[in-house]
């Protein structure tokens, strides 16, 4: 269970350029929920994600994960509870490290790191089995540098890395936005598969209204730093793009990219 209570975030606070990004967000996320988040540019989608991951601190409000108040925790400390996949496929891994080294880094997320060798044959065996299920042939390329992979392959690997160690919530930040449609489709399928397999609580920011409606079991719409629409259960299942359009046309949905994606 994850709770956000009265979260306020202002960029450039205390300067003439002050810009509110989140204005009193309250959100309770139950274990096992798969939430999609949509909203036009500047609505606060990414800020919401970054507040949970710890990359952005909040001016006011508190965040609890599994009854622990994590508000003052750094990103690194929160990584014991939070895993994430970035929008940019290059951001989530180290190009100059090998596939197995990147996986070893992710495998130790949330655990203290000591002087034991980062890799051993037991781990390699486990990584090979995990990668084989992707059917990308990566299981035979463990010692290849990640920089040699395509964007789609790297994003698939980022997803695997995010699910390698246990987490209370998985954050996906428009993680298919930088990919071509076919690869995006593949990554979305892989996401659904991994989330189901590991029973992950997930928060996915997306630029595509179609994706937001089709995936997950709860939908949030953000507008100017506030949650203006929250549909779960049957409401979410029966929700269509047209419902959203008729309800918010001319208001929150002025951004064409939401419809085109």
């Amino acid at each position: 269970m994850i709770s956000l209570a009265d979260i306020h975030v202002t960029f450039n606070l205390g300067t003439p350029l002050a810009k509110p990004a989140l204005r009193g967000v309250n959100l309770d996320i139950a274990a096992g929920e798969f939430i999609t988040v949509i909203g036009s540019n500047g609505a606060g989608k990414s800020t919401l994600l970054n507040v949970i991951s710890g990359d952005i601190g909040c001016d006011r409000g508190s965040i609890t994960i599994e009854n622990q108040t994590v508000t003052p925790w750094s990103t690194a400390r929160r990584a014991t509870l939070v895993s994430r996949v970035f929008q940019n496929p290059l951001a989530g891994s180290c190009a100059d490290l090998t596939i197995e080294e990147n996986l070893a880094l992710a495998f130790r997320r949330g655990q203290p790191r000591g002087l034991r060798p980062a890799l051993n044959n037991r781990l390699r065996h486990q990584f090979r089995a995990t990668l084989a299920s992707l059917e990308l042939g990566l299981e035979n390329r463990l010692s290849d540098r990640i920089g040699l992979l395509s964007g789609g392959q790297r994003q698939a690997l980022s997803l695997v890395m995010a699910t390698l160690a246990p987490a209370k919530i998985l954050l996906l930040d428009e993680h298919t936005a930088a990919l071509d449609p076919k690869t995006a489709h593949f990554i979305m399928g892989l996401t659904a598969q991994l989330v189901a397999e590991h029973h992950l609580t997930t928060l996915m920011v997306t630029h595509s209204m179609r994706q937001a409606v089709a995936v997950g079991n709860r939908l949030l719409m953000l507008h100017e730093g506030q949650i203006i629409f929250d549909a779960a259960g049957a409401d979410k299942t029966n929700l269509t793009i047209n419902d959203l359009l008729s309800r918010f046309a001319g208001d929150a949905l002025t951004d064409d990219s939401l419809l085109l994606g």
Binding site: S53, D55, S74, T75, A76, R77, A79, T80, S83, R84, F86, A91, G92, S93, C94, A95, D96, L97, E101, A104, L105, A106, R108, R109, G110, Q111, R113, G114, L115, R116, P117, A118, L119, R145, M161
Partner: protein, 290 residues
Amino acid sequence: MSLVAFLGAIETGLLYGFLSLGVYLSFRVLKFPDLTVDGSFPLGAAVVATLITKGVNPWLATGVAMAAGALAGLCTAFLSVRFNILNLLASILTMIALYSINLRIMGRPNVPLLNQPTLFDGLEKLLPIWVILLVGLGLTKLAMDFFLTSDVGLAMRATGMNPVMANAQGIYTNRLILLGMALSNALAALSGALFAQVNGFADVALGVGTVVVGLATVILGEAMFPSRTVRWATLAVILGCLVYRLVIAFALNADFLGLRAQDLNLVTAVIVVLALVLPQANLLAKLKRN
């Protein structure tokens, strides 16, 4: 080149090998441009010379010198990660401060170590100094390989390559920068401490250009022996060190070139430029196009 000059070059190369491994750690692993070594190299020499002349055991004195170097590295890293001072500037500040501190430690600009006990005393009768240094450097390289392929070491490499990703993987990047900079400058100080004991003096001006030497050897090693794995990369750094010293010795000894000792820095700069430019295979094509 005479055998004496050749062995002298090898010996100096091995002495600076520890420094080069340190520079590899800061510049290449952490991507932290660190000029502190210009101060921590003579710091190691100053501490060891002062302690030995005061009657301290040379092994202990060398250990203290390394600790002093680690402290200098910590200082630079602390200025950078805690106070957000630009990393290059933070290292320059520590370097400048160390010049005064080294003078304070020695009490004068130069401390001779002639007829004083050194770390090599017992060993020297059994083996030539260059063999002792080679063994020491080899062990240091193996320890570094072990460290950089461990969980912490891998986290340190990720910190240098992609700090945002490292953070998201639960890596406390600031702590690893502190640790890496301490190790790096401890190695630089060790280099200085050994230099003082082999050459029989410590001098406050010993550090001038140290960082350039360190960088030159790292770049030269990488250019000659390109490698992706840590084990080969550290070996390349050491080989770069030896080749660098041999090239310098050759350049200064070859009469037909007419170079003298005062041309050392010029030769160094030329070597670094060559090491950076020659691996660009398309250089000729580029020149033709222009």
